[in-house]
Each structure stands twice: as structure tokens, then as C-alpha cells.
Amino acid sequence: MLLGLLAGGPRHGYELKRSYDEQLPRARPLAFGQVYTTLARLVRDGLVTPVGQDQAGGPERTSYAITAEGLAGLRAWLTAVEPPAPHVAGALLAKVVVALFAADAATARDYLVAQRATHAARLRELTALKADPATGLSDVIALDYAITHLDADLRWLRTTLERVATQAQEGSA
Amino acid sequence: MRPGTLVRLASVGSRADALRVALTALSATLATLAVLTAATVLAIPELAGPLAGTAANNTTYRSALLNEPGLRPGVVIALMLLTIPVLALAGQCGRLGAPARDRRLAAVRLAGATPGQTVSLTAAETGLASTPGVGIGFAAYLVGRRVLDRPNQDGRLPLPTDVLPPWPALLAIALGLPLVAALTAALVLRRVRVTPFGVVHRQRLPAPRPWPAFLIVPGVACFAVLRPLLRYAERHRLDVPEGAFIALLFAGALAALVGLLLGTGWISHVAGRVLHRVARRPAALLAGRRLIADPWASSRVFAAVLACVLFGGGAAGMRAYFATEADTRRAYDQWWTVQQGFRYTPGGDDSSLRDMDLVYAAVLVGLTIATLGLLVGLAEGIVTRRRTYAALVASGVPRGVLARSMFWQTLTPAVPAVLVALAVGVTMTWSLTIEASTGGQVGTLPGGPTAVAPELTRGVPIPFADLGLFAGGTILAIVAMTGLALLFLRPSVSTEELRTT
């Protein structure tokens, strides 16, 4: 990710952190420490090189630029297809399965209602942000990613409930 | 598709919509009656005249139209023309798209049928639906022969109930009519596309041009040149077969009719543009736009009506001629009787006028059938747009606005078209004979001097009263049918049409 940002031109650590936050505002926030450790690792691997220092009225800042090797690496990363998540795992899945098959009806019901309500509320919240015309493009893309996942969770929840109910009905019939 | 499958699918379809089947059967019945009557008239034996190659009048019937061999082809032509509105009605029924039917046709397409197969399916449906109608027509004809077989005192029959068309002709009618009905349906369905997702009734066509309407001019000219031609043939002693003149008149009538129908498309288009420009209220605006979008709809819907009106206009012209002729003859009679020294008492009614009444009746029957076709056509227009209408009503458009827009839409092109049709019809016959004249002969008084009868020439007046009656009646019928068609609006705007799932 940082390589991608550096491909736009040399920057120093603080700028990198800022543009990261600007372009992916709703991703997990990036800590300063993390920026510098990552930069140090990239320099060690020869993908990034320090290009200069300035001290204009503040702490010393080192600018970094991407190397040819770094560009090649970036291109390789961009062209490599991301494998679909190999293992179906997640807290939501685990909880729903446990709720449906191990808990009593009341508990399962309360959990599912609350879970659905929370998902739906989050979906509404993110949708409102997305529909706001002030929201920038990269932000909308990130929001869309989250909304689509919430939507998938909600649909999956419904289908699961229906599936289990149908199965139970057929079993008891 | 194998014929068996076709018949099976078509009969499934025919069970589903009773209205369409009933109307198709009715039109088939009427067509059967008309064609059978024509065949019967044709079957009246030609009696050999006193001279070889000439034909003598029959004396079996009360009407000169049936007795005189020269008039019989006219009767046959008139009866055959009567089948045009009837067949148009049958074809319109094939288009009548009840919602269930549209869905069924779409489902057949979705199941893999080609567009051609759905057309043959709807044609087969029409053919099947018309079969019982043909049966009823035959039954009515056979019963009617018995019931109407009533000779008067001098043994003359009102109708040719004493002859029966030859068997092959009857068989051809029984088998041919359903086939013709099916073909008409296929023809009418030309502009309807059945897609897997529904039935699409409209394709954008180029705006109609006024020039096809000029076909009316040669049409009328065929009539106008008849008299000069006859005179020319007479003067030069040319032996022109009678059939050539009949063919000339027939071609003229056909050209005028086609020109009229093509012209109606243009009239609709222009009427739509004018209405669209001057409309202040939504009803007129909607109607104007509809006319511009599909100007051919009105010429299609009114085709049969206009044909009847054209024919009616012609008949009115003929009647005016006969009436004038009868008047002159009476005047001559009066002069003659007075000359003889008797007191003149006007004689009985005139047979040619009675015959014209028969023609009027035929025109009225045709007009009635054509009006039924109009009803079907208008209802089809409403049913086709049901989803839009339902959405409009849901968004608060009053039904009255939709109803008014229907009236605008039918009457704006219909009124000028009907007037033009009447004018063309009357001009055609009027140009045949400008005046009726008798007299000029020498009357010989028994044992006395000779006297010259006065020239009695009277111009044939334009029969404004009859024409006004025709125009008024037709327009009234159109208004009534539009009102009836609006009954289809209520079920069409049900919320069922708005359902999304």
C-alpha cells in the first residue's frame, strides 16, 4: 500500500500517513510507528530509498522514493490475483451456528434479532455517509465495500434461518 | 411445431379468453352469411335471352336486383365487400390482447418458440375460434332458406331461397373462411411483436406523408371517365365487353378506398400535431401525442368503418340519381296522361328506389359490423396500455381525464376522415351521371296529331340530408363505441398491474 502511495512521487513519513488516511479514511487507522517500521523494512529490501532530508522549521524529516525494484514489485503485487478467502471462518458464522443448534430458542432468537438490528443499523449509517455528496470517490469505494459485505451478511442470515426452518419442518413432518 | 401441437396450444388459449372467442365466432358467422348469400345470388340461373348471347330477366323474385342479370354482379360485389369489415373484425379479435393471453404468448416464446410460431399460433387460435362461427352461419343460412321462403300472391320470392349454391362452393366456403380468418389475423399481427418478456404492440414508423391520399383522385377519375368512355364506344361502335367497365369501376373504388385509408394515417398525424400544439389540458395533450406516436392506429381501427362510409356515400349518390330519375319519369307520365286526356294519379312506389333501400340496409349492416370491429380495436388500445394507465391512476390522474383523452383521440381523426370518405363516395357516383333526363321523344296520340314531349332534364342534387344522416350516424356510433370501450378501462387500471413481485 505504501509503495502505491510512493509511486506518485517522493514523500516523507508524515505525508505518507496523511495521504493514506485521506484515500482510505474508513480503513483501520495507520499508526506512525507502523509507517516507519514498514519504511525501514522496505529500505532494507531495496524497494525504497531515502532521497533527502529537510528540516524546515520542525523535526528532521526524511523523504523516501520508490526504486525501480520497488516499482517492479508493485506491478507484480497489482497483477497477482487475490485468492478468494480460503477458509470460511468468522465470528458471525460461529455464533449463528452455535445459536441455532446449541442454544435454546429464546436465546437464539434474541441474539439473531440483535445481530440483525446491529447489522442493519450499521448498513444505514454507512449508506447515509455514502449518499452524502461531500463524500469523496475513494471513500465511496471503501464504504461500498463495507456495505456490500453487510448486505451479504444480512442476506446470508435470512437464507440460513429459512433453510434451517424448512429443514426442521421437513424433519418433523 | 407440429400441426397437432399447434392445435393443442391454440385450443388451450381459446379456452382462456371467452370474449375474444365469442367475437371471433360472431364475425365468422356474419362472414359466412354474407358469403353464402353472395354464392346464392351467383347461383341464380342465367336465363337465355331472346337473342343469342343475351340474358333475359328472371321473373322469380320481387327485386330487380335479383331478377336482372346486369344488376346481379353488383349485388355479389356488394356482398363480398360486406365481408371486408367482417374479416377485419375477425382479425382485430386476433390482436385483442387480454393480459392472460399476452402472458401466455410470452411464455410460449420463453419456452423457445420462434416469433413466426407465435404468429401462427395466434392465427390458429383465430381460425379455431371462427370454426364454430362458420358452423352457426351455415345453420342460420339453412334455417333462413326455409323460414324466408315465402312467395307472395303472384308467386314471387323476396329472396333467392329457391336455389342452393353448388356443393363444391359450399365446401370451399366452409373450409376457406376459417383459413381466411386465420390469414387475416396473421396479417393484422404484422406489427405486434411477441417477445419472451411480453407482447410489444408498437414499432415506431416514419411519419405518414400526404401523397398516398392522392390515390383518391384516380379512383374518382375512373368513375368520371365512364360516361365519356361509354359515349365514345357508342359513337365508334366499339364492342367493349361490359366486364371491362365493371372492372374499371371496381378498380376505381379500390383505389379510392386505399387512398382514403392511407390518407387517414396522415390525417391522424396532422390532427395529432395540431392537437398537441393547441392543447391546454392534459386529456388533449395525451391524445395528440398518441396520434403522433401511432398515426396508423386510427386508420387501422377505422378502416372497415371508412369503407362502409365510402360505400354509403356512393349509395347516397346513386339513390339521389334514382330519385331524380323517378321524379322526371313521373313528370313525363303526368304530361303524357294529361295529353291523353286522363286525370293523372301518381303510381306506386318506384322499384329502383326500393332496391336502393336494400343497398342502404346492406351499408347499415356493414357499418354495424365495422363498428363492432372499432370497439374491439379501441378496447385493444386500452388493454395494451393498461400498466401505464394503472400507474397514472395510482398517481392521481382522474379516470375522466383518460376517458376524455380517448374521445379526443378517436374523434379528432375520425370526423375529418368520415367527412372525406362520404365526399369521395358521393363524388364517385355523382360523376357517373350529372343529370337525369327523359322526354324529347315523339308521342303518338292514337288517331291524332303528334306531339313532342318537353325535354325534362333535372340536375341530380347532392343528397345533403342522406349524407348528413350518414355522417351523424357514423360519428355517433364512434362516440358510442368509444364509450363502450372505456368500460375496459376500469378493470385495466387495477392495482394488480402495479405489482412488482
Binding site: 444505514r124 449508506t127 448486505d151 426452518a165 | 401505464t388 398517481s395 382522474p398 381525464v401 392495482t495
Partner: protein, 240 residues
């Protein structure tokens, strides 16, 4: 958002033997955007038709601004729909022979506005919805998104207090649907228009302030939209 604008009390409506609504109670506040969701056949559309006065309920009341509207005559309900309520359907609502601007102007013309002023208003609404370029096109010549936005312009041109939308994005692709919904919500918020949005799509429901789930013609407080018997069965299956 405190005054109740539209209220349903014990709404019952059947189609023949099929009960579509079985006692629905619902209060919608002014300016609120409410999504009505639920599985197909749960009575969503019927509820919308009853609330907007298109259908009359068999029993129960619809109260709009403190006044019962379910017992008004068809003509009065038509007038109400034309002036204070707007409706938007999935498709097929534009008059195919009228241009976009004429379609939008139609409700104003019905209200006896002059043609010139109606056209001006229609053009400004098409402009606000970003479809000014198709003002003189016929619906058949527009894209699905343009058609639906024209329909939205027509629903909003009378500045209704309540907008009823039945699967408004059902016939649109994701982006066009999103764009239209975004505009719908933004304009509704600007005008303080109350919106009742019927949908089966959680993403579309995400545009609302509140979501109501229907199940078998009744409001399902759990939001799961699943028969209560279902979970009981799950219980016997799971534990027993």
C-alpha cells in the same frame, strides 16, 4: 420529526381468500424515511397501496394529517394523490407517447397550471435530477436510469408531503439504482418529504432512517421476517 404524518390502524386487506394484510399498525413521522421490507408476498405492496389511497382496506383506518383518508371517495383520493402524495413504481409508469418533460409536467397540467409554466417547472426538476438532456426524448429512447429519474421528477414536481416508492430500483443496475436513491433521499431531506420505500433489498433499505419488516401481512418486530414457528422448530431440532 415528532409529528405523526401518516398512520395505519389495524389495516386488513384480502384478495379473495388470500389475506395480504392482517392488522397492520404503523405511524410515520413527518420527514421520516421508512423502508418496508419483507419476503415476497408478505403484503408490502398492498400496504403501500393502502397507505397511498390507491386501494381501500377491508378494515382499519389510514389517517393522514389527522384525517381519515380510507373512507374518502375515489375522486377525493385521486386529488390527494395528485397534490400531496407522490408515487414511484418499478417501471411502466411513464406515458410512452409523451416526452420526458411532458410526463413530468402532467401532474401540474392536471392541476390546471398553464402549459408554459408546467414545462418550466418540469425542466427545472429534470435539471435537478441530472436528466435535463433527455427532456424532449420519449421514454423508449431513454436508459432505464433516465426513465426512473424522470418518473422521480414527476413524483416530486408537485412537491408532495409523502413519496411512496415501490421497488423503485427494481429494474435498474446497481450504480443507476444507487444514484437514483441517493437523489431521492437528498431531495426528500431538502423538501422535508416523508418517504415510504418498499423493497426486498437490504441495501435499498439502508437508505431509510427506519426499517419495518412485514411477515404474513403483519409487522414483524424481530425484523427477521421469518415465521415464529421457524425458530421453535429450530429449537426442537437443535436441542431436542
Amino acid at each position: 420529526m415528532t409529528t405523526v404524518l401518516l398512520e395505519a390502524r389495524g389495516l386488513v386487506r384480502s384478495y379473495g381468500a388470500v389475506a395480504a394484510l392482517r392488522g397492520v399498525n404503523l405511524a410515520i413521522a413527518e420527514g421520516e424515511i421508512v423502508a418496508v421490507t419483507g419476503p415476497s408476498g408478505c403484503g408490502k405492496s398492498t400496504l403501500l397501496h393502502c397507505l397511498s389511497g390507491i386501494l381501500r382496506p377491508d378494515a382499519g383506518e389510514v389517517v393522514y394529517r389527522g384525517r381519515r383518508i380510507d373512507n374518502l371517495s375515489e375522486a377525493e383520493r385521486s386529488r390527494l394523490r395528485r397534490t400531496e402524495l407522490g408515487v414511484l413504481f418499478q417501471f411502466g409508469q411513464l406515458v410512452s407517447e409523451l416526452s420526458a418533460a411532458e410526463n413530468v409536467a402532467l401532474p401540474l397540467l392536471l392541476a390546471r397550471t398553464s402549459r408554459r409554466r408546467a414545462r418550466t417547472a418540469a425542466l427545472s426538476w429534470l435539471e435537478r435530477l441530472g436528466v435535463a438532456e433527455v427532456a424532449d426524448a420519449l421514454p423508449g429512447e431513454m436508459s432505464g436510469g433516465q426513465r426512473q429519474r424522470t418518473a422521480l421528477a414527476r413524483a416530486l414536481v408537485t412537491e408532495p408531503r409523502v413519496l411512496f416508492a415501490d421497488e423503485p430500483t427494481g429494474a435498474l443496475d446497481t450504480l443507476a439504482g444507487e444514484q437514483m436513491l441517493g437523489q431521492l433521499v437528498r431531495l426528500a431531506t431538502q423538501q422535508r418529504t416523508t418517504v415510504v420505500l418498499v423493497t426486498h433489498d437490504p441495501k435499498v433499505a439502508g437508505y431509510a432512517h427506519r426499517e419495518i419488516t412485514l411477515r404474513d401481512g403483519q409487522i414483524d418486530p424481530t425484523g427477521l421476517g421469518l415465521a415464529g414457528a421457524g425458530l421453535a422448530m429450530v429449537d426442537t431440532e437443535g436441542v431436542g
